[in-house]
Each structure stands twice: as C-alpha cells, then as structure tokens.
C-alpha cells in the first residue's frame, strides 16, 4: 500500500514535469507563430501590400482608333469599322479545349480553326488574350455575354477593322496595315495589343505616328479568376489624327484609266508651286488591301508584272536623256562650258581606246546647249560630262532632287543611285573609270532614279526653287515654302528654253507632247525625252526587231504651262522604245486631263499662253 502511494506520487510528479514542459513548449511554439506573423504583417507589410494590389488590379491598355486617310477633297480613303471580338485569356482557363468547345456552340468555330487556336495558345504568353473571333455580329456578342459568367477567362470587346475605299485608284498609295511582326522593346506598348494593326506600306506606314493615336489604360479590380469586379480607373485612348493626301480620287481615276493602256508604266505629277503630288500611277496595280488570304498575296507577289510594286516611287530606271539637264547645269555651274560654245558631233565620241556613240548615227554637227537639248545630242553631253567630272554631276543631281527619298507621307521610296568614285569603291571595290562618267552624263551606266524623283527634278527646274514633294500630311497642315535652288537664273532659263524647244521647235525630240485637246491646246509644254537602254542589243537594231524585254525604257519629263509652270510630270513606260514616240504622248494625255480639270475648276483664270493668268 505504501509502495503504491509512493509510486503514485512519483507518477504524478513525473507527469507534472512533463506536462509543464509540454505546456511551455506549446507556448513557445505559439510565440514562434506570433513572431512569424509579426515578420510578415508588420515588418514586410509594404512589400506584401504591393503584391496584393498587383493581384487585385489588372491594367489593360486600350487600343486607340486609327486616324482616317482622306483625299484632297475630304473623300474618305481609309476608315475603321467597329467589330466585336471574343477572346480567351489562357492563363485563366483550366481547360482551354473545353472552353473553346463551349464557345463553338454559340459562334461558328470549325474544328481545324479550333486546333489552330490551341496551337497558337501554346506559342504565345498565357496572360495575353487569344483572339478566337474578331468579326462577330452584335447579336453573337450579346449571346456570349450571357454565358461569360460561366466561362472564366472569356472576354468580349470591340476592335476596329480598317476599311479602304477607292483602292483601285489609290491602293498602292494609301498602303495597308497589318499586325506588327517583331515589336522592339521601346515600341509603344499599344502595338502589342492583339488586333492592333500598324502601317505596312504607303501612307499608312509613312504617317504611322500621326495615324496611330495614343493608347489608353483601364484598371480593373479583378478576382482570382480574372473576372472583373469593378472599374477603378480609366484613361481613354486618343484617336489617331486624320491625314489628307494631296491626290484627288476623281482625277487619279482618269489618269489611271489612261495609264492602263500601257503594260508596265509609272507616272507622277506634282504641283510645282507646293510640291503636292497631283497624280501618281503605277501599272499594273493591285489593291493590296483587297488581298484577303495569304494565297491571294502569294499570287499577287509572284504575278508576272509585279502589281504590288508602286513603280512611281519604287521603280528604278536609268533616266537616260532626261538626265541631261543635270549634266548641263553641272557643267555651267562649274564653268566648263558656256551657253554659246558649240561642240561638234559626228556620231562618234572616241575616249580612252573606246568609241562612245551618239543615238543619231550620222551625227548632229555643231551643237550649242540649246540644240543639244532639243535634239538630245549625246556627243555634246559626253564632252561636257568629261569636262565636269562625275562628282559635280552627281552633286547637281542631288541638288535637283535625284538620289534621295523624302519624308512626304509615303513609305518605301527607293533612293536610286547617283554614282561617285567612293560609292563605286564601296559597292564593287573597284576604281572609277573616266568612261563611266560619260555614260552617267547621258543618264546611263550606274545612274538610277524613280519617276517620283524625276518629277521633283522637273518641278525644281521649272521653279528654280528646291521644291519638296508632299503626298500626305496631317489634316490642316501646309507644306513649308521651298527655298531657292541657288542656281544662276540665266543658266536655268537656257535649260528651260532648251526644254521648250524639245516640244515646240522643229527638230525637237518631244513634239508628240504638244497638247491637242481644244480646251487646252493653247498651253505650251516644256519637256525632255529619254530612252534608256536596258539591253546591249538595242544599240544596233530597230525596236521592232527586239524582244519586248530587250527594248529600251521610254521616258518623258515635262512641265506645263511652259511660261508659267504649274505642273511637273515624269513618266516611264517600260520596254516601249523611244521616249518621244510613246512616253511623250502619255504625258500629253495626262497633262490634258490635269489642265482641263484645272480649267473647269477655275473658269476664266486660265488665259492664253503668254497672257497673265
């Protein structure tokens, strides 16, 4: 009995020790939890408060509406229509395939399209919306809206689709838009938004900054499934600015109708006073915005005559004799020739063991500058080019607007080539030959320019000012006034007289450019023919004996009226033989169209030639 009492006492003491130990351990452990809470809630509160806000606040950029493109009279060429989109944020969806299948009961979604979407979802970041259908009717969107509460991650919103008008006349000018392919880090984040399109060519590309507008932002409070609980803050997107192009749909239509008579051709007409592009055509032409499928694209890209190329700004042609004004002014400016000096042409010009030929095999005899321009004597220009040197010639070409591109509202212009010895060394690693200067002097050899540049050259020659072209600009803005070219007026006058003679004097190569339409036949044209060789064979044989692709390119550049120039124009017809016989009539017809329209628009203000207007 006694032993049991002692036993019990011992047991109780032992239990008490252990119970107190365990109890104390429990308090210590709870204290540890409390200190952990202190660490999280008091010491690290700021950090976690930020994370909690990151969680609950979802910001989305809002795409701005793109500005419109208008013609010079305000006719809409490109605007936007509202489309309804449904998209899925894959990060918020546990079963993407199942969700898509449920959507397919509301909107048409073929099985192969569904597979494509699943594939795309694997490639793109999971938190970016995957656009399921961007072209839904209001009724369809409304129906999806009913089911959205049961379809986590599915959202509907509106977007814009670009819509073009008059693509037949202006498709190559306005260009088109598409999704950005590889956004750079410093790009406007707006361009990454699904459905946002950026300009890929033409005006759309050149005036992207103007047209795009500024993205807005919306902050939502969202729950863990990404469902929007309420809107916290919105900054509305800013619509892009409208831009106007200088062309006129109706006039453009008439000009293109004439141009379509040629197989491959390009034409640009400028307002000499302002530099505004009045007409721009490229033949053949396909409206890029009308090509919906990639198959259509491929077909157009591989088509025989390259209908997606805007030859007016992208076609590079040897300017041929239309370059002779550059050579003449370079020589006059450098003092290598005078207006009176007469040089002899017997059809051949020997230089450094080679003979350079004049196009007129029998030769022109004695030529001063006036006659050399009128009859396009090659030997005269070989001689003054040799005297002047390639550097000065190319410099004059640049001064007159060749060999460069302009920020004038149309993208993807090509610069062409004004060769120099440095350029040749960099390009081919070879030294310059004197004979190459002779070729350059008559616009052959390495010299390449676009019809657009040639039109600028004519506007500058006609005005004596450094006219800069302008094709599209924000609505309500005006181009800057052009400054003087800084060329001696007497030399410019001499060249202009030569150009007048080309069209209007006996023996001139461009008499086909004389206006014939009664309404405007009192207006005189000044111009220059050009026939640029693309194949060696054309030297010795008549055009009719040559295959089409071996024939020379025909060029004609002009301005009118000759006495008070208002329009400068340049045209190229590929493989059409001599400029005087094919390009001059084209320019004549187009000038008639433009001038007649002018007369109609401003009755009584166009007087007879030589009278003040």
């Amino acid at each position: 009995m006694f032993i049991r009492e002692a036993d019990d006492q011992d047991q109780r003491r032992r239990f008490s020790r252990r119970a107190l130990l365990v109890g104390a351990g429990q308090l210590v452990a709870l204290g540890a939890l409390a200190s952990r809470l202190y660490q999280l809630q008091v010491m690290d509160q700021d950090r976690y408060a930020l994370l909690a806000d990151d969680n609950r606040i979802a910001s989305h950029s809002l795409a701005p509406e793109r500005g419109r493109i208008l013609d010079r009279n305000g006719t809409v060429l490109a605007d936007n229509i509202t489309t309804y989109r449904v998209s899925i944020v894959p990060a918020l969806v546990s079963d993407l395939r199942g969700t898509l299948a449920r959507l397919a009961r509301i909107i048409p979604l073929p099985a192969d399209e569904l597979e494509r979407l699943l594939q795309r979802a694997r490639r793109q970041p999971k938190n970016l919306p995957l656009i399921v259908n961007a072209d839904l009717s209001f009724e369809q969107v409304a129906e999806i809206g009913l089911y959205v509460p049961q379809l986590p991650g599915v959202q509907t919103d509106t977007a814009w689709r670009r819509r073009y008008f008059h693509g037949r006349e202006l498709g190559l000018v306005t260009g088109f838009v598409g999704a950005i392919e590889r956004p750079a880090l410093d790009d406007d984040p707006v361009v990454r938004l699904p459905g946002v399109r950026i300009g890929k060519s033409g005006v759309e590309r050149a005036l992207e900054a103007e047209l795009r507008g500024r993205g807005g932002q919306i902050k939502h409070e969202v729950d863990a499934r990404g469902r929007i609980v309420r809107v916290l803050d919105v900054s509305e997107p800013e619509k892009g600015g409208d831009v106007a192009i200088t062309l006129d749909v109706e006039l453009q239509g008439q000009v293109l109708a004439r141009l379509r008579k040629e197989r491959r051709a390009a034409l640009v007409a400028l307002d000499v006073g302002t530099g505004d592009v009045v007409a721009m055509g490229s033949q053949p032409a396909e409206d890029p915005a009308s090509l919906d499928t990639s198959a259509e694209w491929r077909e157009a890209q591989n088509a025989q005559d390259d209908p997606l190329l805007n030859r007016a700004i992208q076609g590079l042609y040897p300017p041929g004799s239309t370059f002779k004004m550059v050579t003449a002014l370079a020589a006059l400016d450098a003092g290598r020739v005078t207006l009176r000096e007469r040089l002899d042409c017997n059809g051949d010009y020997p230089y450094a063991d080679q003979v350079y030929r004049c196009w007129k095999r029998r030769g022109h005899g004695k030529c001063d500058l006036h006659r050399a321009l009128r009859e396009s004597c090659d030997c005269y220009f070989y001689e003054i080019a040799r005297r002047t040197g390639i550097e000065a010639i190319s410099a004059m070409g640049r001064r007159l607007g060749l060999g460069q591109t302009w920020e004038c509202g149309i993208a993807l212009q090509r610069a062409g080539i004004l060769p120099t010895p440095d350029w040749k060394r960099a390009r081919f690693g070879k030294p310059w030959h004197g004979g190459e200067t002779l070729h350059a002097g008559i616009g052959q050899g390495y010299v390449l320019s676009t019809p657009f540049q040639l039109a600028v050259m004519m506007a500058r020659l006609a005005s004596g000012r450094s006219v800069a072209p302008s094709l599209a600009r924000p609505v309500g803005t005006k181009p800057a006034e052009a400054g003087s070219l800084g060329l001696d007026p007497s030399w410019l006058d001499a060249v202009r007289r030569g150009l007048f003679a080309v069209v209007n004097e006996d023996g001139g190569t461009g008499s086909n450019a004389q206006l014939q339409d009664e309404a405007v036949d009192h207006i005189k044209v000044a111009g220059k023919t050009g026939t640029s060789q693309v194949h060696r064979a054309s030297t010795d044989r008549a055009t009719s004996e040559l295959k089409w692709e071996e024939r020379d390119h025909a060029l004609f550049v002009a301005y009118a009226p000759a006495d008070r120039p208002r329009y400068a124009i340049a045209a190229v017809i590929e493989h059409a033989g001599s400029g005087g016989s094919t390009a001059a009539p084209l320019v004549r017809d187009v000038l008639e169209i433009i001038l007649k329209r002018d007369a109609a628009a401003r009755p009584g203000r166009t007087g007879r030639a030589g009278q003040p207007t």
Binding site: Q11, F15, R18, A19, Q26, L27, L30, Y38, Q41
Partner: protein, 383 residues
Amino acid sequence: MSADAQAVLQPRALVQRLARVPWPAVLAAIAVAACGAVALYSVAGGTFHPWAERHILRFLLALGLALALAIVPVRIWLAAAYPVYAVALGLLALVPLAGSEAMGARRWLTAGGFSLQPSELMKIAIVLALARYYHWLPPGRRSWPQWMAVPLLMIALPVLLTVRQPDLGTAVLLGALGFGTMFLAGVSPLYFAASAGGIALAWPHLVARLHDYQRRRIEVFLDPEQDPLGAGYHITQSKIALGSGGTSGKGLLQGTQAQLDFVPEKHTDFIFTMIAEEWGFAGGLGLIGLYALLLMALTSMSLACRHQFGRLVIAGAGLMIFVYVFINIAMVAGLVPVVGVPLPLVSYGGTSMFVVLIALGFAMSAHVHRDERMPREDFGPLW
C-alpha cells in the same frame, strides 16, 4: 440501473458536477468559436448564410454534447477506452474496402446520408486507449521495452492505415498525438531521442515513397517561387494576404485577397489567412492568445487531476488542439507544407468541430471527476 448510476443522475449531483466544469476552458472555447463565426460571416461576403449560421449551430450542439460528456463519471470513459479504440480501428480498416473516394483519396465512410471520417474518431480513441494503458501499467515498467510494444502497436496500426488512404497530414497528427501521450505518460526520453535520430536517417527513404502530389507539396513548400501559379500558389497568396493585412488589418469584409478569391479554401483550412488579413496582426495575435489561454487552462487541469487516466486524457486533448492550431497557422504562414488541417473551432466543418469538443468533453469529465479514486489494481490489462 445500478445504484451508482442513479446517484449520478440525481439533480443535486448533476448541479455539483456542473459547478466543477472548468469554465475558463469553456469560455476560451466559446471565444474562439465566436471568432470563427465572425470570420465565416465575412467569408460569405457579409451574411450568416451559408457558413456562419451552421457554424454557430454546430458549436452549440457540440458544446452541449461536451458538457453532457463532462458530467458522465470518468470511470465509464475509462472502461470504454479500449472498445472505442477497437471500433475506431475497425472503421479505419473498413475505409479502403467500403469508403467513398474524393479527390484521389479514400477517407470517408458513408451510411444512410451520414458520412464519417474514421481517422477523426481515431484521434480521440488513440488518446483514450493510451491513457487507459498507462493508467493500468505500473509506473516502474513504463520504459521497459516489452511494455512499449503494445502502445507502439496502438499508434502504428492507425498511422499505417491513414498513410495508405492517403492522408499524410492526419497520419502525422496521429503519430504526434500518440508519441506525445507516451511522453506525458513518463516514457524515458532516450526513446524519443533515439526515434528522432532514426527518422532523420530514414527520411530520404520516406520521401521516396511519397505520392507525387505529396512530394510536390514539400518541394514547392521549400521553394514556392518555383511555381507561383501552380502548386506554390496557395502558399504565395496566403503570405501576400497575411502580409498585406498589416498591423491593424484591412477591416471586416475588406480583405482583397480573401474577398477576391486569391486565397483558396478560405472558409476551411485557410480561414486564419482571412482573419489575419482583415483583422491584421492584432487580430491574429488575439486569436493565438485565445488558443494559448485554452491550452494553459487544460495544462493546469491536467496538473490538478489525481489519476493518471484523467491527466493523460486532459493533456492529450490539449496536445490535439495544439497540434491542429500549430500546423494550421504554420501552414498558412508558409512555415510548413500545405496539409489539410483545419483550425479548431474556427474552420467550417462539422467533423473537426465535434472531434475537438468531444475531446474537450472527455477532458472536462476527467476534470469534474479529478478526485475519483481509481486504483490501478482495480483494472486488468483489458477490462
């Protein structure tokens, strides 16, 4: 009915015994459950429906049951200990054969619209059975190896059955309860030191046998950033909720993490996260303090008890509540891996509520009858 039983049921005796009920522990339990009701009101977005009202109802029912258990003579519970354990073990063994499956694990027995989780019953039964054993075992023999085989078997059988369900959290909890009770019973500390060493050695082997989702939980626990949107999501979001709550909290119904569903399971296992987000560090600390009061009350009750069975039942109940509380809060605070352990009296759920209050009921019975003379010699090894 025996004279003994009649005496027990006399009104005067009932009042006497009710007067001996440990009211500090009861009040602490009521306060904790009230916190739970407020939290569930907030979880539901400011209504008592569906959780808070049922929580309150269950608590009142379970508290009534606990008080009823408390005034039943502890002698009866002593006698019932082994049969209860046997029934619990039998049901646990039935689970793999007849249990219903949910989320890849078989844990429930369903009969006539009533479902029971035998592993929960076992938490009480294992404490009762071990207390009964050490009440009988002469103190001098408690550390003899041959006298440890039976209690170890008592622990090992249910632990193995729960591991196979698989329910790792409950298995760990059962093991902790069993070994904790053995420690309180006075078994030599050398055994505990030795088994701690053994577990450390066997750890890699144990990890290798874990189910993929269990191993994944441990890996993600060790480095939640490794998968912030997948398995680490719960831990990360819970820590954000706690941290953003700050010192004084975002206010009732204002917890963005909880109210916007970033916190998972916030009416059950993660309810403490919401409490600490909305009530802040002050609220979290207050709730932990209430648990500490409850545990201190139980410890002092166990010290006052004059029989070994009572001491171990009271201390075992305290241990059970402590282990629940600690694992749950440590889990939501990112200190231990995510295991499905509710917060006692606060988390929504009938089973856990009844288990905790039944355990408290047995402990209170031991306290009410703390002076009962139950000489060890009166008991055989089994009855």
